[in-house]
């Protein structure tokens, strides 16, 4: 293992110490329990948008804390869900009296920890809603699995919902918007190389020099297929078509019903893409893939979208949701509407995403 670290056990702590020193006007860091939060929080009357997850996906989530995006982010150990005490303390620190939205990626650990945190926060009188992001089309069904994983759409949901909260949307409206972003977003990723969790010291899986894993998860979970390496155009086509031709996806998710005051099963369906849909096209490096290769993927993605009648109205290209040093790429397409476009364009100022201010 070759990494720029001191001791494997100190990686997350020292990362957070560095972030606190690097962006003092923008974010603050709370230790034990660990969370990053907006320097100007709490903002009275504003819905607080909080996310979190295992570390190792930087800049997500901590890099998206700031004006117009997240109020707080809870980093777990590398690839391990954070714990309810972090999420609870983050909520108490940043909520401005208008409630808290937890944006949760659909992984068993994250879902359970955020549900426990929401229960604990409500017990302390804070209004909380949890919305899941489950957009990874590499997982085909939810009957025999824990359901689709939360990947690229998470970044887009955090930006759009953060902008909505900044504009003064109430909690229910921000949560409904988040759910709408989720059901309109689809992603798929692939890996050229594995990655090494610092505490484990060796790669999470093995790939031969001429092999790739298509449909990889952001923690190195296996995807749909391991196959011989192909060209950028062929890989892009595989990912893009899996997304564009994905049939309607139905599943039930657990959400908090404020009227009944209990967790309820909600049925959701992702409508498939259709010619004429305006989309945001997001090409993301898994961490180790350099910037020079991303436009090559975008170029082909643009061609395929055009051929399929999808109109790319916005794009995002870069390193936003990563798997440590893994080489590979993920593609996300989000069907946009005017409200989402408007919120996407709204000013944002975070360490990881910044425009308009």
């Amino acid at each position: 293992m070759k990494k720029l670290i001191n001791r494997p056990a100190d990686v997350v702590k020292e990362e957070l110490e560095g972030i606190a020193l690097a962006y003092p006007g923008l974010v603050k860091v709370h230790f034990e329990p660990n969370f990053i939060y907006r320097a100007d929080a709490p903002i009275p009357g504003k819905v607080a948008v909080i996310s979190g997850g295992g570390s190792g996906h930087e800049p997500m989530h901590g890099g998206f804390v700031g004006v117009g995006m997240l109020d707080a982010a809870c980093p777990g150990e590398v690839f391990t869900s954070p714990t309810p005490d972090q999420m609870l303390e983050a909520a108490k620190m940043v909520h401005g009296g208008a409630g808290v939205l937890y944006i949760v990626k659909n992984y068993t650990g994250d879902v359970m920890n955020f549900e426990m945190a929401a229960d604990m926060a409500r017990a302390e009188g804070i209004r909380v809603l949890n919305i899941l992001i489950d957009d990874d089309v590499a997982v085909k069904d939810s009957l025999y699995t824990a359901g689709r994983r939360g990947t690229g759409t998470t970044v887009l949901a955090e930006k759009i919902c953060g902008a909505a909260a900044e504009r003064g949307y109430d909690l229910k409206r921000v949560a409904d918007l988040c759910r709408r972003v989720n059901i309109n977003g689809r992603s798929m990723g692939m890996a050229l190389t594995p990655c090494t969790v610092p505490m484990a010291g060796k790669p999470t899986f093995e790939l031969a020099e001429d092999e790739m894993e298509v449909g990889i998860g952001i923690h190195g979970e296996p995807g749909r297929e391991r196959m011989k390496l192909k060209t950028a155009d062929e890989i892009t086509e595989m990912l893009a078509l899996a997304i564009i031709e994905d049939p309607p996806y139905r599943r039930t998710v657990r959400e908090w019903d404020e009227e009944k005051a209990e967790w309820v099963e909600v049925e959701l369906e992702d409508p498939p893409f259709r010619p004429g849909d305006p989309v945001l096209a997001f090409v993301n490096s898994m961490g180790g893939t350099p910037d020079i290769e991303l436009p090559i993927v975008y170029r082909k993605l643009h061609e395929i979208c055009t051929k399929k009648g999808l109109k790319i109205v916005r794009n995002l290209i870069g390193r936003y949701i990563t798997s440590l040093e893994m080489q590979g790429v993920s593609i996300t397409l989000l069907r946009m509407d005017d409200e989402m476009i408007d919120l996407w364009d709204a000013p944002v100022k975070t360490p990881g995403l910044r425009w308009g201010m």
Partner: protein
């Protein structure tokens, strides 16, 4: 330990604390083993997480060592929930918290209390994780263990023998996860590729039940002339 009737031992809070220390030792010793099982079908952190969690438990125990068994177990649960992370944190945390609620206020645990605590722990895991028997999870080790414990106590076995049977059932349950197709957690994404691997959560559950049986036997042996 005190012998009340024929072979019927009760567990004092001091012995409960000893059992928790032993659990931490065993999880530390099996850190690499559990992590390697998790690397095969999960995300290679189960041993690391459980070891970190039980080290946090050990740090908390001195503050509750003169408290009742319920308080001790709830403290263990809260420590696990706030340090383990992943799915193991909420699941084991809920298990210990529910077990603690089942024996709240007690300073000595009768065999029926041990059963009530383990049964509550299992119900807590099922409630939190929504897993069914056969999904290749902790539930596959815990369910047969609780059933075996109940059956043995009903048939008049002492606690030591009943826990031995529970550990044997948990071990079998753990091994039975090998041919199963995972339907919960990260392993479920492997589909068919999850077959042939032993579930790490079922394995850590077996290890903890094994510690309980070993501690009971040790206490029994100490007591016998």
């Amino acid at each position: 330990m005190t012998i009340t009737r024929s072979e019927e031992l009760t567990i004092t809070t001091k012995e409960l604390l000893m059992c928790l220390h032993k659990m931490a030792e065993v999880l530390e010793a099996n850190r690499e083993y559990l992590t390697s099982l998790d690397a095969a079908i999960g995300d290679a952190d189960h041993g690391i997480n459980m070891d970190r969690g039980f080290k946090a438990v050990l740090a908390k125990l001195p503050s509750v060592e003169d408290k009742d068994a319920g308080t001790i177990l709830k403290t263990v649960g809260v420590a696990l929930v706030s340090t383990v992370g992943g799915a193991g944190g909420p699941l084991y945390g809920t298990a210990f918290m529910q077990a603690g609620m089942a024996v709240a206020g007690k300073y000595e645990l009768e065999p029926q209390d041990v059963l009530a605590a383990l049964d509550a722990a299992l119900k807590g895991v099922v409630m939190r994780g929504k897993a069914n028997l056969g999904d290749k999870t902790m539930v596959d080790a815990l369910t047969p263990a609780v059933n075996a414990l109940r059956r043995a106590l009903e048939n008049g076995s002492g606690l030591t023998e009943a826990l031995e049977q529970a550990a044997a059932a948990a071990e079998q349950g753990m091994k039975d996860t090998i041919p199963m197709l995972a339907k919960k957690g990260r392993a479920s994404y492997l589909g068919e590729r999850s077959i042939g691997h032993q579930d790490p959560g079922a394995t850590s559950s077996y290890l903890l039940i094994r510690v309980m049986a070993d501690v009971a036997r040790e206490l029994q042996t100490q007591q016998e002339p």
